[in-house]
């Protein structure tokens, strides 16, 4: 009797099939599979993994077009030393350029991400109410994300033009005060509070580094929210559509209105989506370059450097660019800065994971 296992005494046709199967299996395992991943791995090693090590190496040099002088950790002592605390022309201790850049970056991220998510959730929830024309509206809300580029940033710069911009024209028509927008380095909150009648001496008591974003940075933030919004709307809308029907029906049977259903069913169930969007949008905002470069260059007096006016829109990414591209001899320092930014983002992402992850476990 033939045994159940394919053994030497299996019938010849079956044995032939088993051999063929074994040969085929051998073809698809072993070193052959490695050939498929070699091109991808070669590119990744050269342009994504090697740069980390190479970047550390560059940061230890005074480096111009090539290495000039090995200076050890000097770039880092500059970064953490005078980068954070330095003295002004009177000899007073003031915040350094790295500290300023960090503050601007945090204002930019904090100004962009929460507002984007809040608006996106609201728009997605309204679109989710089963209205006619949902598809067409979704298309429009998503369009700025697709076209986010220099070309559309130029339109914003033109709309917020200090002399003939359409935004000022609209504000004037509504009887509201106008602004020089991208040319205004003063803190936006101070401008707003001053406009509401808060005295100058009260405003002066506030520390400079915690003054909040400048008016110019607020324009950059508005542009960034405009381009980022559509992505979060689409992801939220997909999340809402994926909520099981019976859960939504249960809420309706319980007599919950749309507001209550949102608070007790939709928002808690979408917590993982929110976590993903917070992290994704934060990383995107930390890396933002195009909006700041395009909107803030060439609008100040004489200087064409991005990050103005008065460095009030100089995020770390643009600061790295300035040191690398626009200054001689600062390539090593720029490399040190970019590694600092990497560790900062890594730490922040892990912290967000833990904090947000814990808060959803509890709810």
């Amino acid at each position: 009797m033939a045994s159940a296992t394919a053994s030497p005494n299996a019938s010849p046709p079956l044995r032939g099939r088993v051999d063929r199967w074994r040969r085929a299996a051998r073809r698809t395992s072993g070193w052959g599979g490695l050939l498929y991943v070699v091109p991808a791995l070669a590119i990744l090693l050269l342009f994504e993994i090697w740069p980390l090590l190479f970047g550390i190496w560059i940061s230890l040099w005074r480096w111009d077009i090539g290495p000039i002088r090995f200076i050890g950790l000097e770039n880092y002592t500059r970064l953490f030393g005078e980068g954070f605390v330095t003295s002004d022309f009177r000899g007073d201790r003031v915040a350094g350029d790295v500290a300023n850049s960090l503050a601007v970056t945090f204002y930019y991220v904090l100004g962009t991400v929460p507002v984007t998510l809040f608006l996106a959730f609201g728009i997605a929830y309204l679109l989710f109410q089963g209205i006619a024309g949902q598809g067409a509206l979704r298309t429009i809300y998503f369009l700025p994300y697709v076209t986010s580029s220099v070309a559309v940033a130029l339109v914003f710069a033109w709309m917020f033009n200090s002399q003939v911009g359409v935004v000022n024209a609209i504000l004037e028509r509504m009887g509201l005060p106008t602004s020089t927008w991208l040319r205004d380095p003063r803190p936006a909150a101070e401008q707003l509070l001053g406009g509401l009648g808060v005295s100058q001496s009260a405003l002066d008591a506030w520390p400079d580094l915690a003054a909040g974003p400048s008016v110019a940075l607020v324009v950059v933030i508005i542009f960034s929210i405009w381009t980022a919004l559509g992505y979060s709307v689409v992801v939220y809308l997909a999340g809402m559509t994926a909520i099981p029907r019976d859960l939504r029906d249960a809420a309706r049977v319980d007599g919950a209105g749309p507001w209550q259903a949102m608070r007790s069913v939709v928002w808690p169930l979408l917590a993982p989506t929110t976590i993903f969007l917070v992290i994704f949008n934060t990383i995107t905002a930390f890396q933002a370059f195009t909006p700041i470069y395009t909107l803030t260059r060439n609008v100040g007096m004489g200087r064409a450097e991005a990050g103005g006016p008065l460095d009030s829109t100089l995020t770390i990414t643009v600061f790295i660019f300035r040191n690398f591209y626009e200054k001689a001899n600062s390539v090593g320092f720029a490399a040190a800065l970019s590694l600092f930014l990497f560790l900062l983002m890594l730490g922040l992402t892990l912290a967000q994971f833990r904090l947000l992850g814990r808060s959803t476990d509890e709810s």
């Binding site: 993994i49 728009i123 209205i131 809300y141 998503f142 992801v235 997909a238 749309p258 395009t294 790295i320």
Partner: protein
């Protein structure tokens, strides 16, 4: 996402709902509208304050001016961007397909460790790679007059290859395609093995046709990202004739044009290709974003 699967409005008044949504859409769409309207205005009109909504005379002159003002015309920049977007995305998708297929279906030594390595590269932000990659591209051995040690010439600096090379193996693309390939039923694979099909034939004949939607999605992401890219092309090019459109637009801002109507006309021509692509493959695009939650 049909009306039947979404709840009926109860408390919210339909009129208020539409007012908010359409009002919001108008605000979102206004910059595009303003771009198009300004592109038809004369210098006097675009600099008038307060500005008028519609141009007094619709003139197409701005478009021809914007096209011919730069030394090598806007057409040259559009061509550069098309070459970079199509070649870069094409090569990237081929490389990623091969890798994703192997990670999804083939067995080879170190497979899991290598896949983790691929995923780990997504943690490295662009800024960190910027400076080292610039040095690597400029010091590429035996390219652009360089010797074997990478010195003497300019490597791939200021070439199409220099713009395209570093982005050729997107880890996200590999990840997305691997997901798609894993969804192909396992018994198809076993059947093909019994028939003696080679792994490459199985990839071309079965996997790729079945994973076509995912391939289309990553292709669209790749095209859009490359068309809109600014920082890397700005760093790695010097020649005016090699500039992609977005880099060229920053020069419209500073060098070529002082007339805003003309600048907006250039903006329209640069944005139009991507809008057309978006309208054509909209569903694929939006569902790609919704399904993966990942761009690029």
């Amino acid at each position: 996402m049909t009306a039947g699967t979404t709840p009926r409005r109860t408390g919210l008044s339909a009129a208020a709902l539409y007012a908010v949504l359409i009002g919001g859409a108008l605000v979102v769409a206004f910059p595009f509208l303003w771009m198009v309207l300004t592109s038809f205005k004369s210098v006097q009109e675009s600099n008038a304050y307060p500005p008028s909504l519609l141009p007094e005379v619709w003139r197409g002159q701005n478009y021809t001016d914007a096209w011919f003002t730069p030394p090598s015309t806007l057409g040259r920049y559009l061509l550069n961007s098309a070459v970079i977007a199509i070649a870069g995305t094409g090569i990237q998708v081929v490389i990623a397909t091969l890798a994703a297929y192997a990670f999804a279906r083939l067995r080879f030594p170190g497979r899991n460790a290598l896949f983790l390595l691929v995923l780990a590269t997504t943690m490295v932000p662009d800024e960190v790679r910027l400076i080292p990659n610039f040095m690597t591209i400029r010091g590429f051995p035996l390219a652009g007059g360089n010797d074997l040690t990478g010195s003497g010439g300019s490597g791939f600096y200021d070439t199409y290859a220099g713009i395209i090379l570093p982005g050729l193996a997107g880890a996200f693309t590999i990840f997305l395609l691997r997901q798609a390939f894993r969804q192909v039923p396992g018994d198809l694979w076993e059947a093909a093995q019994l028939d003696g099909a080679s792994s490459l034939r199985f990839l071309l004949g079965v996997m790729i046709p079945l994973a076509l939607p995912a391939l289309l999605t990553v292709t669209i992401f790749g095209l859009v990202a490359r068309w809109n890219a600014l920082l890397w092309p700005l760093l790695i090019t010097r020649s005016e004739s090699l500039r992609p459109v977005q880099v060229a637009m920053t020069f419209y801002q500073t060098e070529f044009v002082t007339d805003h109507g003309q600048m907006m006309a250039a903006s329209v021509m640069v944005t139009l290709p991507i809008v057309v692509l978006y309208v054509l493959v909209q569903r694929q695009f939006i569902e790609g974003v919704a399904g993966t939650g990942i761009k690029g």
